[in-house]
Amino acid sequence: MVVFSEFESKEISLRVLGSGQFFQKETFGPETVNRGAVLMECEWHGGVFESGIMMGGIFRGGQFRDGSFWGGVFWEGEWLGGVWECGFDRNGRYHPRTDHPPFA
């Protein structure tokens, strides 16, 4: 993956999380793609969530394309698909099953 910014360009190696993997209280950057891992109480910073489960934690940016979102905070990002089981928006407001935040 190549990321360009105003000040520099650098190549970042893609990090792929796969089915069967489990992470707790970890932080993932924009180079991360989730393809099936379970993330508990983790921070997601800009990567692509293709499948897997986010249990608790905070989604700070990136794309949520598929997978399940359970009980965490959706601070910012694109909600493109998946199962919104429950969670909170950036104002701390609860969103029940199916009701993903409008800015997501």
């Binding site: 707790q24 905070v73 909170f88 104002n91 407001r93």
Partner: protein
């Protein structure tokens, strides 16, 4: 109305049994009309009406899409009082609970809280004067986060906690009888969370990782422990497996007693052992109280591994 959200029919059957033998007659003796409603948050097809006589079901739908949203929706029901009772909370003395309704003669009293797990009352065993709660802003019962900019040091408020604060601000009171609860209430913790986790992702991460999670996460260990105790009671009363897996295996939908002993034996951190030992002793007392109530004579399972007992003895 006595109501609570449920996800698992087996746990709900114990809840239903106690509600109908204790709370319903106690409140009816006050001259109240009483009805019982179970909110089936999931697994609706597992709740057979024949197992829940004199009880109606409510399922997720608009306005009550899940159990957190359910509390606000329930407040719109046409009734004077609503008793919210958590799925793993069992009030074993209805006369005691009903005796405090005299406090509603005081117009400042908005609710009676029989059980508290944090600083604020929550909805674990809360008898509400419905019109006071209905007068609160929309979504007052909803869970919420505060100070999210301070993440991860944000404040997570559970269902009912914001309502308690708003009522206090409006000069209304929620009377707290939590100090008397240990003699009259059996309650268990985390029993649903671990089952949800089992069905949601245990199969994805594998059994070893799931057991490691339980060994490291106090709330999960508490839920696993309490489910074994509830399984002991359920089998004795209803003659079936509690929290079964897809094949019907006892506790396979949580953690079997054998697996739990194995998990506990792996825990070496003294502070975690100490915290869990204290909690397990509380759970044992809670389960024995419930067993006496239900007339269960089978011996309570012993789950703490020998190495813990040896360490405590020395």
């Amino acid at each position: 109305m006595i109501t609570g959200p449920h996800r698992y029919a087996d746990l709900a059957r114990i809840w239903h049994r106690i509600v109908h033998t204790e709370l319903v007659p106690a409140f009816r003796s006050l001259g109240w009309k009483v009805r019982v409603v179970i909110f089936r948050d999931a697994n609706q097809d597992r709740f057979a009406q024949s197992d829940f006589p004199q009880t109606s079901f409510q399922d997720p739908g608009p306005g009550a899409r899940d159990f957190v949203e359910f509390y606000d929706a329930a407040l719109q029901t046409d009734c004077d009082f609503i008793f919210f009772l958590d799925a793993d909370v069992f009030v074993l003395n209805g006369t005691w609970a009903a005796s405090f309704t005299r406090h509603f003669d005081n117009p400042d009293v908005a609710a009676l809280s029989y059980l508290r797990r944090g600083k604020l009352p929550g909805v674990f065993a809360l008898l509400c004067r419905a019109k006071y709660f209905r007068a609160l802003p929309d979504r007052a019962m909803m869970a919420s986060y505060e100070d999210l900019q301070k993440w991860p040091d944000s404040l997570n408020r559970g269902p009912g906690e914001r309502a308690a604060l708003m009522l206090e601000k409006a000069g209304k009171r929620i009377l707290d009888f939590n100090d008397e609860a240990p003699q009259r209430i059996s309650d268990f913790h985390g029993t649903t969370v671990i089952r949800v986790s089992r069905e949601t992702f245990a199969g994805v991460i594998g059994e070893e990782a799931f057991e490691t999670l339980i060994a490291n996460k106090r709330y999960f260990a508490m839920g696993a422990y309490d489910n074994v105790l509830l399984g002991w009671l359920y089998r004795a009363v209803f003659e079936g497996p509690f929290a079964p897996d897809a094949d019907g295996g006892e506790l396979g939908g949580s953690l079997t007693a054998e697996a739990l002993r194995r998990v506990l034996a792996r825990i070496e951190r003294p502070e975690l052992r100490a915290a869990l030992s204290e909690y397990f002793a509380r759970s044992d007392r809670s389960a024995e109280r419930l067993a006496r109530y239900l007339g269960v004579r089978a011996p309570r399972p012993v789950l703490t591994p020998d190495c813990w007992r040896a360490a405590n003895a020395s």
